[in-house]
Every structure is written in C-alpha cells, then in structure tokens.
Amino acid sequence: MIDLQGVLKRFGALTAVDHVDLSIEEGERIVIIGPSGSGKTTLLRMINFLETIDDGRILIDGREAGYRRDRKGRLVLEKQSVICTLRSEIGMVFQHFHLFPHMTVLQNVMEGPVTVKKQSREEARAVALDLLGKVGLLDKRDVYPAFLSGGQKQRVAIARALAMKPRLMLFDEPTSALDPELVGEVFSAIKSLAAEGMTMVIVTHQMGFAREMADRVIFMDNGKFIYEGTPAEVFSDTMDNPRVKAFMDKVL
C-alpha cells in the first residue's frame, strides 16, 4: 500500500532516518521499537508528510506521491491540497493526544469529516457517535477534553482519526503519556481496531503489546532498521543480534 524507499531525514548534523526502506502491506500491523532518538517517530511522521524527507521517495499504491523535484533537483513537498488529500487517508494518534480543547468530545470526532470531507453535520454526527460507542465513550460525548483522563483522551483521539475512515493508522507512542493503569484501555481500543483488519504502524515502548499485536516487528537504532521479523523472532530467547539483545535485556 505504502512504500518508503531510501528515505532520509537530517536534522543539522544528525541523521534521524538514514536511507530506510519500508513497505506497508494492506492489513499489516507493523510495530516499530527501539531506543529513544532512534528515528522511530520521525519515520512515522514521514508517512503522513508531517516530516519532509530530504531524499528517497514515497510510493502510495505503487505511485510516487507527495514530492516533486525543483529546478535544482531538490525534493519539495507537493502543493498543499495534494498533501491534505493524502493525509486525510492516513490517521494519526499522537503521544500527547492533541485533542482540540475548545471542542467537546463529539465535536472533536466530527471535526475532520465536517471540515475536510465537507460531510453534513448529521452524517458526521452519526459516524462520530458510532465510533465513540466503539471506544466506550458515548457518555462523554458532550464533555470537553480537559475533563477526561489520559486514557479517555487517547481513545477520543483514536475515534477522531477513525472518523476520517483512513486506510492506514499511525500510532506514535500512544500510551507513553499515560498512567500505567490507563494503558490497557487504549490498547484494547487499538486491538479491536486491529481485529477489524485496519492497517497500522505503531511506535511503542510496550514490548508486551508489540509481541501481541504485530505481524512484523522492526527494531530501529540510529536511524536504521537493525532487525526486522515476526514477534516470535524478535522476542525469542535465541536472538543473535547483539544490539537488539542488549535493548531487550534492558526493557524486559
């Protein structure tokens, strides 16, 4: 569905993502793990163009998308309307939720369809209520985000992303800002989403979750893929990659 080919991102002298290839298949659940600062989040943000690539290319359904080259041959982002259309098909859930604080839960979930897709309010409302039901927050629909717990906020954020009916969901450390007892409710929301066959890429530090969810686990370090495999392979006791092994010993 989406292919990243040789993507590169530099922040000054630091190479955050170093010529990475990633192919995301329809219905696939990819979990990216690795130490902090390894480029996981940057890679994830590249997929929906919140981070621009300095080199490489991004293919959507086999066609190059999002960038063109200027006269000097540098990569530049396509014009805004193109990018917006691409983004509207990719949902993203942030570590710090980023709910719209001036809108109620229901308004948050309706915002995308109404503003971007120009859906009627009634239609958007029906979809939003359905999604809120799925994440178990129907009773909170008229509450402002400030009055929710972290877990509730993140579930609203998931519903808000889903309201756009995306083909792909990106999760950027969705539970890292949560109290431990609230992690479970967010995971189960993501799991039920997976059960419906949603394609997703998840960056997380929760190894148990990675093991349970992933079709494919990618271990990233210093902007590169160090190891790629099934959960069984990555979390096996006989892991022979020393860097992965060292990381696993630390976190598990």
Partner: protein, 352 residues
C-alpha cells in the same frame, strides 16, 4: 500796662481778634461735626456726595454706613436719592458677600417702590450668588446635557467602530507577520514598527492635516476612524500573533493529520483557542482606546473631550470636566466588567 516789643508782636494786635478766631474754628470744625453726628438734619445730597467720596477713597464700610443714613423721602416726594444710595450700599454689601444686608437694602427700596426693576435684578443676582456651586453645576448640566450626550455618543461610536475594525485589521496583519514568506512578514513588521513606534496624535495629525497635501482630504470623522483603526490594528496584531504562537504546535499537527489545510486549521482550531487568551490584553487595549479617542478632539472631531472643553470655556464650570471624567469612567468600567465576564465564558472548556 507796659509791653515789650517782642511779646507785643506775638500777642493779638486787637482784642476782638480772639473772638473772630474762635468763630472761625466753630464754623470749620464744630458745625460739620454736629451735622455729622446728627444726620437726620443733614442734606441727603450731602450724604450721597460724602459716601461717593468714601467709595472713591476705597473706604467701603464707611461708605455703606453713610449711604444707609440717607433717609427715606417723605410721602409724595422724589425717592431718587434714597433709591440710589440704597442700591450703592446693596452693591457694596453684595461684593462683600454680606448677602442678607444687601438683600435688606433691596427690600427697603421695594417696600417704597414695589416695581423698582434695579432692586429686583439685584435681588435675583444676590440669590444666584448665594446658590451653592453644585446647584449652579446642575443648572449648567441641564443646559449642556444634550451637547454632552451627543458627544458621548460620538465617543462611543468611535470606540465601537474601532473595536470592529482593529481586530479584523489586527488578524490580517498578524497572519502576515507569521507568514513564512519573508517579504510579507517584513512588510507587516514595518507596519507594526511604524504604527506602534509613533504617537497616535502624530498619526492623526498626519491623516487629517498631512494627507490633504497628497491630495487626500478626509472629514474629521473618517480621519479619526482611520487613525484609530490603523493604530489599534497594529497593537492588536502583535497581541494576536503572540496568542497564535502560544498555541501548542501539536494542535496544528493534529489538524493537519486530519487533512486540514493551513487556513482550515487556523480558522477552526488555532484561532478559536486564542480567544480566551486574547480577552485580557485586548480588553486592556480597548480601555486604552476609550481614553485615546480624546486625542481626536485635536482634529476637529466633537467628541466627549472636545465638548467638555468647549462647555468649560463657556461656563468656567470645573464640574463639567468632572462630569466628562465620570462618563469616561463609566465607559471603562462597563468594558472592564464585560471583558471579565467574556473571559469566564470563553474558558468553559478549561478544567479549573
């Protein structure tokens, strides 16, 4: 009887001389003294003349006493001198603020000549002088209330129009300032630099007196609105830019991740979140604006300040300035309370 030549020269040459000298002394001193001590006997013309003389010598208290000694005329005879003397006494007493005595003089005249206009006029003058300042103020206020009310409406109109224009202009300029296009951002930086960096008074002068030399002549009202609008837009632009930049960058990213364009995100997500943060500083600006409208009085706009000044020039009644101050205070107070309420209402989504 022998006599020495020296003493002879000193002694009176003839015996009748002593009697003559005594007689002269009597005429010079005693007769006037007696006539002074018994005024009833004196001529009313003499009294008037003496009193007038005393007035000229600035011996006013004595003059009053003499004026009052002029007796009322016998029935049927001319009362001219009597009236004249009582009037003069009354005027001096009035200028000494002895209102009661002054009024008594007038009443003496009126008891004799009930229709005397001069006395009546002086009586009303005495009454006016006795009226407390605040009563006079109330009377002036009643007279000038329509003028002041009109001027207040004009001030309010200026404030309201500027309150409408400047946020629109301010948002426009703020958007230009945060633009990534250097040229645009620089252009609006210049605008803010000029309009915040020079006195509003000077800007008003330039628009009203300066622009005509460039072929643009504006009436006072449009000139005032333009000056206030341009100036306040610059101030509000900086406040709005600050508020927009204070919104968490994650909000823009979240909006973009839903597929929103920059302007959709601004309009739907970022700008609405600035409203509450904008209220305190913008409220401050608008309160300053109410007072700054006084400056447009310098470009021939008749608003509250100018009207108060005009009325003061006409009446020298300081209270009119107090009254104008009160109107400004009432206006600013209404604003203060309203903005406080607005801030609370805009903050409903906050958990506090």
């Amino acid at each position: 009887m022998t006599s020495r030549p020296g003493s002879n020269r000193i002694s009176t040459p003839w015996p009748g001389a002593r009697a003559c000298a005594l007689g002269l002394l009597f005429i010079l001193l005693v007769i006037p003294a007696v006539s002074w001590a018994a005024p009833g006997n004196g001529d009313q013309y003499d009294l008037l003349a003496r009193a007038t003389q005393l007035v000229q010598e600035d011996r006013l208290d004595e003059a009053v006493d003499v004026f009052r000694k002029v007796p009322p005329p016998p029935p049927g005879e001319d009362a001219g001198i009597f009236v004249r003397s009582r009037m003069e006494a009354a005027k001096i007493l009035l200028s000494n603020k002895d209102y009661q005595a002054s009024a008594a003089m007038c009443h003496e005249i009126l008891s004799l000549l009930p229709d005397n206009l001069e006395a009546k006029n002086l009586l009303s003058k005495i009454q006016a002088a006795q009226t407390p300042k605040w009563v006079r103020f109330l009377k002036d206020m009643k007279t000038y209330l329509p003028t002041l009310a009109k001027a207040t409406v004009m001030t309010l109109l200026l404030v309201l129009i500027t309150m409408f224009i400047s946020p629109v202009g301010g948002l426009f300029i703020a958007m230009g300032r945060i633009s990534r296009l250097q040229v645009l951002s620089g252009l609006f930086w210049c605008y803010i630099w000029i309009f915040r960096g020079t006195p509003l008074l000077l800007q008003l002068f330039f628009i009203y007196y300066g622009l005509p030399s460039l072929g643009i002549t504006l009436d006072p009202f449009p000139a005032a609105v333009l000056g206030l609008g341009l100036n306040y837009s610059a101030y509000l632009a900086e406040i709005m830019r600050g508020a927009i930049e204070s919104i968490d960058a994650g909000q823009m990213e979240a909006a973009k991740s839903l597929g929103m364009s920059y302007w959709q995100a601004m309009r739907r997500i970022i700008i609405p979140q600035t409203y509450k943060r904008l209220v305190p500083p913008v409220g401050n600006e608008f309160i300053a604006l109410i007072k700054d409208t006084a400056l447009v009085s310098t470009i021939a706009m008749v608003e509250l300040m100018r009207a108060a000044n005009q009325i003061y020039s006409a009446t020298f009644n300081v209270f009119i300035l107090f009254q104008a101050a009160l109107v400004y205070l009432v206006l600013t107070s209404i604003f203060t309370v309203s903005f406080r309420k607005l801030e609370d209402r805009l903050g409903v989504y906050e958990n506090r």
